[in-house]
Subunit: 373 residues, 2 copies
């Protein structure tokens, strides 16, 4: 157990089925900008939440794309400034919540996201606008982190931005929003949450509070994900999955992630795998290799989760993924043997890969990927 650590997670979490229709109570001021993707706007979900806010002037920015661009951020910020937003709400998966984080700051900070991000030289001043995040999947955990990930459309570089102003004021956790998630998304986002929890647990910068949170989240995911996949309207399973994803989010908000996420970046960018799929496809292999430097800690976890060994846990996770029709080999997402060297190189450029409890270099990462080709 790491005995030197810091911990700070100042988000107010409100969890209740149906609570997204009762959020006006948390918002001072009249002007609300709700940020979402076209899907959540067109299917009426965003509007039904907006309509529940009596007396508020709700304006929608519904053009958030997957892997949101800096251009989208600036467009949304223009809307927020125009209406003098008192509150910015991010509704959706990680993309919309991430955009809301920076837009809530840009409402009262001049200029473009480029002035503050990746080469920008300005510093975000204290946010004046309430920031609320409402996840619609049980996965990303973005509602309880201070990270946003944005893509520069010119360079195609996707980079995280970490900022103390990005902690949401409120994380509103409403399992009802996940009742209609299709099984494939339930599986991939749920396994993304699994990765968050386990990468926080075995992290070289692990935090004792997060070790405990991760164990709880991992158990809840193993006990509920298949039910949520098989029975989309099973309220108990949905509730437990969104709570588990929340807890996993709190956990990795303190530690960051590790090799799984590092390697997922090229798998998403170049092979089009969804984030959850790109992460979980290497999960069993990373579980095995985590024993290199955290054998005892990982055995404790495996036993807590009902397995006799860490390898048995890896086998169990792989079987679970297969049972949900998820890819468990790289070739299933289009990777060929000749791609492995490049994926290795790109993965190694992400600093977080060195938080994995195993030697991570060209040889070891290549061999890990080859073992699951």
């Amino acid at each position: 157990m790491r005995e030197n650590f810091s911990y700070y997670m100042p988000v107010r979490i409100c969890c209740e089925a149906g609570i997204s229709k009762k959020i006006a109570q948390y918002i001072d001021g009249e002007n609300v900008v709700m940020i979402c993707d076209p899907f959540l706007y067109n299917n009426g979900v965003a509007k039904s939440i907006g309509d529940s806010m009596e007396g508020k002037n709700v304006v929608y920015f519904h053009d958030v794309e997957p892997n949101p661009s800096c251009e989208s951020v600036d467009a949304a910020a223009a809307v927020a400034r125009e209406v003098h937003a008192d509150c910015v709400i991010g509704l959706g998966g990680g993309s919309s919540m991430d955009v809301a984080k920076i837009v809530s700051c840009l409402t009262t900070n001049e200029g473009s996201i480029y002035d503050y991000y990746s080469g920008g030289t300005r510093t975000l001043q204290k946010r004046q606008t309430t920031l609320m995040c409402i996840p619609t999947t049980a996965g990303t955990g973005s509602e309880v982190t201070n990270v946003g990930v944005f893509t520069n459309r010119n360079t195609h570089v996707k980079m995280p931005m970490v900022n103390q102003q990005f902690w949401p004021d409120y994380a509103v956790i409403d399992a009802e929003l996940t009742y209609t998630l299709p099984p494939a998304i339930t599986a991939s986002t749920g396994m993304d949450a699994f990765c968050h929890a386990i990468e926080a647990y075995w992290n070289k910068e692990s935090v004792p509070l997060c070790d405990a949170l991760s164990m709880g989240a991992l158990k809840m995911i193993l006990e509920n994900i298949k039910t949520a996949y098989d029975e989309p309207e099973n309220k108990e399973a949905r509730s437990r999955m969104i709570i588990a994803a929340l807890i996993a989010g709190v956990s990795f908000s303190q530690t960051r992630t590790t090799g799984i996420h590092a390697v997922s970046f090229p798998l998403t960018a170049e092979f089009g795998a969804s984030h959850g799929t790109a992460c979980s496809v290497t999960l069993p292999a990373f579980i095995r290799i985590s024993q290199e430097q955290e054998a005892q800690k990982m055995l404790t976890l495996a036993k807590y989760l009902g397995y006799d060994s860490v390898d048995a846990l890896a086998d169990g996770v792989e079987a679970l993924m297969r049972s949900m029709n998820m890819p468990v080999r790289l070739h299933e997402i289009g990777v060929k043997a000749e791609d492995l060297e490049h994926i290795t190189e790109v993965g190694l450029t992400a600093a977080i890969i060195q938080l994995t409890p195993a030697v991570m270099n060209k040889e070891t990462v290549y061999q890990l990927l080859k073992s699951i080709l």
Copy 2:
């Protein structure tokens, strides 16, 4: 598992052996008031921390008594106002940290604690002064709660005060400060932390994040308290105990406590038992009765802690307490059969007793106490 909950714990936690000598970095401004008890002042501990703060003007208020009075609070507030404190530090057990919480507010809020507490009609305005808490025992958890407990010297009434302004800015966790704790205090404060964690876990207002935290804290306490008791300078055991107490504090900061703490109030006030002793003496009995409404959840916990049943956990905790020479029967702290009715009545006046997962009334509480007379 409770699926409707809220969670908010905005304290910055900094944990490292020796970190209490590096705290100047967290403090803006020059003027610091350090609040402690005479023991920590006279043995030089408070001064050694103050002396580490180069460039700061550190003034000491070292008259905090056990069960601190409102009069002490007002005296300390006068000091803080006189030096225009930029930061108030509470160093010690719960008493000093609790005093620091309200004093940091009174620095810029006029009047006496009586204006704001128990019958007072004024509302504390936003705190302008940095509040830092540094525990010197592994027990109270006050460093991560927004509660202070104060005693009215005129009425002898001891009452908690809960306030959003009481969340410390910083909890500074330095295991080195506990290396010299005598075994009896290691035992009683450590078992107080055990009560915090388990009362959060079985609480009728339990929170899933706190369930996970409590499980982790309880395991760490069971694995380390006897070593810390037997070998006061065992650094690993000391470090794990202060981290476990911290985690238990986070846990009950969200849920409050239950019957154990309710019944402890008369045991401390009228029989002179220390807080930790007054709590833990009823702990095994409350573990048994928790099965009334939380049989499955408690069995999950018992198994996680290495016991086959909840009763076996209760037996194990009782044996652990005996091994540390702690009282496990009420007569050992001076309670007689004819006192039980009165203790029952006083315990039942504390609203938190109804957060116990069992029917709590005159008959059931009396029988519980009688069973451990």
